[in-house]
Amino acid sequence: MSITKTVPKIRRKVLIGNYAVAEAVKLARAQVIAAYPITPQTLIVEKLAEMVEKGELNAKFIRIESEHSALAAVLGAAAGGARAFTATSSHGLLYMYEVVWWAANARLPMVMAIVTRSIAPPWNIHSDHNDLLSIRDSGWIISMAENVQEAFDLTLQGFKISEDERVLLPFAVGLDAFQLSHTAEVVDIPDQRVVDEWLPPRNPYIPYVVEPGQKFTVGNMGPDEYTMELRWHMYEATERAKRVIKEVDKDYAKISGRSYGGLVEYYKTSDAKYIVVIMGAWSGDAKEAVDKLRDEGIPIGLLRLRFIRPFPLEELREVANGAKAFIVIDRAMSMGYQGILGIEVSATVNDLVQIRNVIAGLGGVDVSIDDFYKIFKKHIDSIEKGEIIKPISIDWYLPWFKNRAQSNRY
């Protein structure tokens, strides 16, 4: 991330991730918010409800009976030309799954915060990424924050990217349960007037508006070819979105002073032979483990995925060109195959580098800097020895497992 000094008025606040997202939605002047509470997301919409109640945010807040209806209401609002927002987690997201696809296929701009949380059973409110990645193929733009500031920035940028006529796809902001959602960090907030200029009110006529006196339906039955053609247009939009994301990132630097560089963040990758691929809040810990290994003279770097869709294909291949191996750290598992990022990264750079896929931190299991250090070291040692694991390498990181399996609690 690069930081510029000369930016207009910035307020500095200490905010938990959820409140930071709410602040961003307020600054974006969202007009309709519909949501159903679910831990760990609830505080986002609770805060927004408070803002509406106090008159700080001029929006319609719709209290609704389920997540399915919440996203349906947001979809309706977006079709009515409004700037709309919702937030959810885990089971809530799964419950709204049908409408997730409707929103994307209807090409309606909106922003949804997804506070990643594992899926039951067992009942668990801590973070893993399987819920977020369940919408991977739907056509949503999917981003993932590393820290509270980035969750704030992505939310604000999300409206601009989603509403861009070259994109017109809904936008998901991922942030890890508790590690970000309930953790207070310092957040720099741009001035409302500056944001207003940067993000003007939504043009309701792009892509289309449902309004009285206009006779048309969205998504009526049509020839099969219509469906396929519209999917092709969506694909083209996701390709264009790569450019729009970078543009918006640069443009945002003018009002915030921060630029993340686009779809990925490079951390010490320029001369690295070993590349860690990771996303989300624990990237910070992984970076510290990378630093430790760097101190020992090991040429290791880290590539943090900021966006999963569109997928940073070019960026990964560029980094893979000079590298020997990728260690892909996954907090999401595709049962029957490998970690989801493992699959994505393998498909992208398998011909250029060896890939080690590590499954860790499912159900929110804490993975410390030491854990990352051990994981990286183990695989680097193995690769240095010339070991090649084919066709795929999956390493489940369960350091406590042996003790449990031998204890009488099994």
Partner: protein, 93 residues
């Protein structure tokens, strides 16, 4: 429908406006065909009211004309007719 962007013309595939037969001549789906007997008709227009496909046109003298391009042959008109002035026959016979 106002749309501010020429670029988004493809959305016409997504947005359906009311028009005749947007998915083609659905009359081809028909198995039974309604035959109208003008001599039995009392011009109550129940058939016109009930036709779910809007395939019955009312003439100036309140008799009807069935639009066979779009009539799917559901038989509702024949069923609601109090004078059995509409008869369903197997298509093609």
């Amino acid at each position: 429908m106002r749309r501010d962007s020429q670029f988004l013309k493809f959305l016409n595939l997504l947005l359906a406006k009311p028009c005749v037969g947007s998915v083609g001549k659905t009359g081809l789906w028909r198995t039974f065909k309604p035959i109208y007997h003008r001599d039995k008709c009392i011009k109550c227009l129940l058939c016109w009211l009930y036709c779910p496909e809007n395939s019955i046109d009312v003439n100036e003298n309140k008799t009807i004309t069935i639009d066979y391009d779009y009539c799917k042959g559901c038989g509702i008109c024949a069923s609601v007719c109090p004078r059995k002035a509409i008869e369903m026959v197997v298509e093609g016979e």
